[in-house]
Amino acid sequence: MTPPDLTAVLCTGIRKHFGEDDARVEVLRGVDYTVRRGELSFLVGPSGCGKTTLISIIAGLQETSSGEVSLFGNHLARMPHPERVLFRRSHLGFVFQQYNLLQALTAAENAAIPLLAAGTRRREAVDRAAALLDRLGLGSKTGSFPRQLSGGQQQRVALARALVHEPRLIICDEPTAALDHATGEAVMELLASAAVHPDRAVIVVTHDSRVFHFADVIARMDDGHITHVEPGQRTVANPHPGSSRNSHPSA
């Protein structure tokens, strides 16, 4: 059992179904899932096994049918909706498969969105985002629009957007699925080096077995359950990930 002070994400008995009676579909069938601070946890499994539903619930975007989710000791389900939105804004960062960058904004402006949503002044937000992009190797592209960037560069902008407000949990949904192997590898390296932090947890949902070696922990899902949890190669190489890594780009 993980000591409570090291627990970032604690899911207990999560059940989720959609529809009722004949149309009822059980997507999650009692998921217990823990992610520790400083951990890079991979959630893997076949399509339709419930990975995306689980991260939606962890992010407070969907309600559970039963079970509890705690993020750093906070129970999202017990929060009123506006408070949950503010919690998500402050403490969570997201990386999506399709990047979801706004085509109207430059790379720096896209990366600054969480700060803008939090009310930071535009100039300050964009400057901070540009500085972060610089550290992620996109210093020369801060003024470029998404259509002017390659897929790997766009995903790095998305990574900057997930990091810029220094969240405590980063949720990545298939971050390498739209990238070729080399680019995916580079993005994962960046994620592993920039996002992992002793007080932060990272959950990566992926099918891409080529990047499993970046994981501290791999949780395998099938048919709405976590069927197996195993240490990743990085844990084997570094048994105390949370205490040894401190490579947050803003540190």
Binding site: L86, N100, Q103
Partner: protein
Amino acid sequence: MNWVGLQMLRNDRAKFAAMIVAVSLAVFLMQNQAAILATMLSMTAAQIRDVQDADLWVTEPDVECFDQVKPMRDIQLLRVRGVAGIAWAAPLLKIDAIGRSEGGRLNTVTLLGIDDASLAGLPQKMRVGRADAIRELDTAIIDPGGHELFFPGEPFRAGRSVRIRNRRLRIVGVSDIAAPFTGLPMLHTSRSTAAAFNLGEQHMTSFILARSAPGGNPGEICQKINTLGGLRARTTEQFAADAMWFYGSQGVPMLFMVTITIGLIVGAAITGQTFLMFIKENARPISMLKVVGTTDRQLGTMILLQGAVVVVLGSCFGSGIAAAVCNVIRTQPFLRSLYLPWEIALGTCFALASVTGIALYASFRHVRGLEPAAVFR
């Protein structure tokens, strides 16, 4: 976040332009039609308001507007003059006749016979010549539209003549009165000259113009005149309002209102539909914004601002086009009275904004109902 919303709007140039064009055209159509209607209605009262030296109009009881002429007996003038609070009263004769220019152009004209002694009701502003030159027998001043009808394309000048009932009427000036509703040339002449054209008519008074004594209340004086019996007295504004109401109740405004309503509905529908499409096509980025913690309030403000930008820009363009078209049209002498009241400009913009607001509300409801988790799919 408002800035992000504006950038999203600006980036979708096709829809942004389509919405602005839709609002502009709707505003232009509504303002143009409303301006024509307002001008037409005001033209029905133009000859009443042009008389600025009198503040009371006295007519036969059943006369509703300036174009309804019912001759009055001369005794009525004396009765009005006898009412306490009347500073002066003078007759005005109105006759419709056929006029022919030197070049042979025929037109029905309206002859206004001004009281020879007082010249009450004489145009206050002139483009060419002096108004009081009509004291001379068989002279008249003509309005700009009439000059254009009789002498098309020629510069305004005195010295031409018009024949009416085989009698030559010399033009001694061009007045600057408002265009009449009928579009007929308006010839101001002395009552004695006009009477010579009023063949077979026993009474030479169509209206009685009167002025209330200084400090007198025109409304109260009207009541006194009305109690005399057989007369109907109104202030200038009351008579003008009656005239506009008389023509307004003839059905023409209904036709204009149909066009204005179509403009409103089509403009708002295109704008609303395009805006809703813009929001729906941006569902994924908006879901992303919701996921990263943008509140419904922030999104609502973004949508409101986007809608406001479209409506304000479209209204400015539409109003600008309407004003420009109005200015071009009014260079025509017959249409010189066309104007675009600011109340109409503001009212049409407000009407369109209100109806577009419904589309904005629908868009906001759509955004509120967006499932943020959809961004993971």
